[in-house]
Amino acid sequence: MHADPAGVLTGTHFLDGDHACCEGCLAAGARFASGYPITPSTEVVERFASRIPTVGGTFIQMEDELAASICLQGAVWGGAKAFTVTSGPGFSLMMEHIGYAAMTETPCVFVNVQRGGPSTGLPTLPAQADMMQARWGSHGDYGIIAICPNSPQECFDLTIKAFNLSEQYRVPVMVMMDEVVGHMTEKVVIPSADQLDVTPRKHTHKSPADYLPYQCNGDGSLVPEMAHAGEGYKFHITGLTHDERGYPNMTVKVQDQLVRRLCAKIENAKDLVAYEAENLEGADVVVVSYGITSRVAQRAIDQARAQGLKVGKLRLIIAWPFPEKVIRELAPKVKAFVVPELNLGQMVREVERAARGAAKTIHVGHAGGGVHQPEAIVKAIVEANQ
């Protein structure tokens, strides 16, 4: 489906990542946002608040992040595409509702512009230390998708992708920005609406009499079809373990079916792999990075190559589900992975696990508040090459 032109600010703009993300939301068809201010993410909803009355839709500033993160889900069940935006402390408060969205299969987008943590930490400075939280922060087993833009242009492009995946899989998708990307201003090209693909809601075509809210129909996917309030389906939605009718069912069997499906629809999805690869063939060392760090790493890679080293680049675009297979297959062919992150060791654990000892894994940690010195990454590459 093409984007609705009403929300598409076609043209070439000089935008920061937060504003580009907002334009991505609008282009993707989001017409509802509930937010609670927090640095460095607030600009996304500030722009939305300014744009939406002339596009058609609603922004509401809620009393806290608990409210913001469930309000948008009400909007989704009312028929809207919706999102919220936050940063570390607010993200922590949203964890219960990320679980609710996963459990009820509510398609929606959570944007987290990562700042330094833990706790109040460094409100105005960058980090990438909420990556594990994005995957594991809510209780119980569930699947989510997390996506990592590294420029304002990608804040636009990948936000649309986030909405599309959320609709395709009926899952909360996290756009894991970082303060640098969020506050950096660059050229952003927004195509015309007819050049933008937007995934429509997986709305049921069944009549109310035939419809079961959590039944997977023969389309081969593990994703049930959806209905909205006010359409006559009279469905029931609950965060309790539920059967295909959406009714609570407290048995091991139903729990097993439901939760395995919720995880499998994401973990086993074939098309949830997105990365940027460069010179992997014949590389001795592969630098695995994402977000702003991938741009810093690029300078390091260039420097290392200038020293004659064979360095490959793997940039995670979708970080969760983690592209385990890619690393697993690469590991026997390389000496080492070097993983720079603005944290003290998060995605590197996945690299290490997937590598299964077939290649060294070297983390280049940074506690946040700035970006790496490229030299620190070069040093690790050189060491890794030995």
Binding site: H13, F14, P40, P123, V180, M184, T185, R295, V371, P374
Partner: protein
């Protein structure tokens, strides 16, 4: 254009960020080059020091931060004190003449100074000093075409203030063209020479 690092700094309310946006936009939107603008956020509330960084390049910019600026534009003494030491050898310093006293500078630095606040006040709105500075900048450097900068100004301010800001740009540009070129002081000259420059 070769990769060029620019830092603009002053205090909150001077419109530092907007001037950086104008330069970045001019280069990336109106000239088709690439520009990355970032800003330093203080721990919090406004009113304090404020600084923005622009990197211009003919290919996409990777590393987003300025390491050693080629050009430093300062509009407050505090900003000068803080950032002057990082200026690249042989770099360019552009100052708001009434707000900044230049001290020891690395040799080879080219200094341009403009009484932007005063010029802005002449236009009746002190708040356009940032755009006066941009006009002045356009006159004394040649990284981005003045037309592009002028276009970027028009594109970056609310419609109601477009006229005023374009006037501000022109005023700064004119000031730069008439006062600065040719007699830019370099830090090779004595400190007193630099001061004499401020008499413009």
């Amino acid at each position: 254009m070769q990769l060029t690092e620019i830092r603009i700094a002053g205090f909150g309310g001077q419109g530092v960020i907007l001037s950086a946006i104008v330069i970045g936009k001019a280069a990336s939107i109106f000239e088709g080059d690439f520009a990355t603008m970032t800003q330093s956020f203080g721990p919090e509330a406004r009113g304090g020091a404020c600084s923005a960084q622009v990197i211009l390049s003919e290919s996409p910019v990777l590393y987003p931060y300025v390491t050693r600026p080629d050009i430093l534009v300062v509009m407050s003494q505090e900003a000068y004190t803080k950032f002057a030491p990082e200026l690249k050898h042989g770099g360019t310093l552009v100052i708001e003449q009434d707000l900044v006293r230049v001290g020891d500078l690395p040799s080879g630095t080219t200094v341009f100074s403009c009484p932007a606040t005063r010029l802005a006040e002449e236009l009746g709105k002190k708040m356009v000093l940032n755009i006066v500075m941009v006009g002045f900048y356009a006159a004394v450097t040649d990284l981005v075409k003045p037309e592009s900068l002028r276009q970027a100004v028009a594109d970056s301010v609310p419609p109601a203030f477009k006229e005023l800001n374009l006037k501000a740009f022109d005023k700064g540009f004119e000031y730069g063209k008439t006062h600065a070129p040719g007699d830019a002081a370099t830090a090779e000259e004595s400190e007193s020479d630099v001061k004499s420059l401020e008499v413009h």
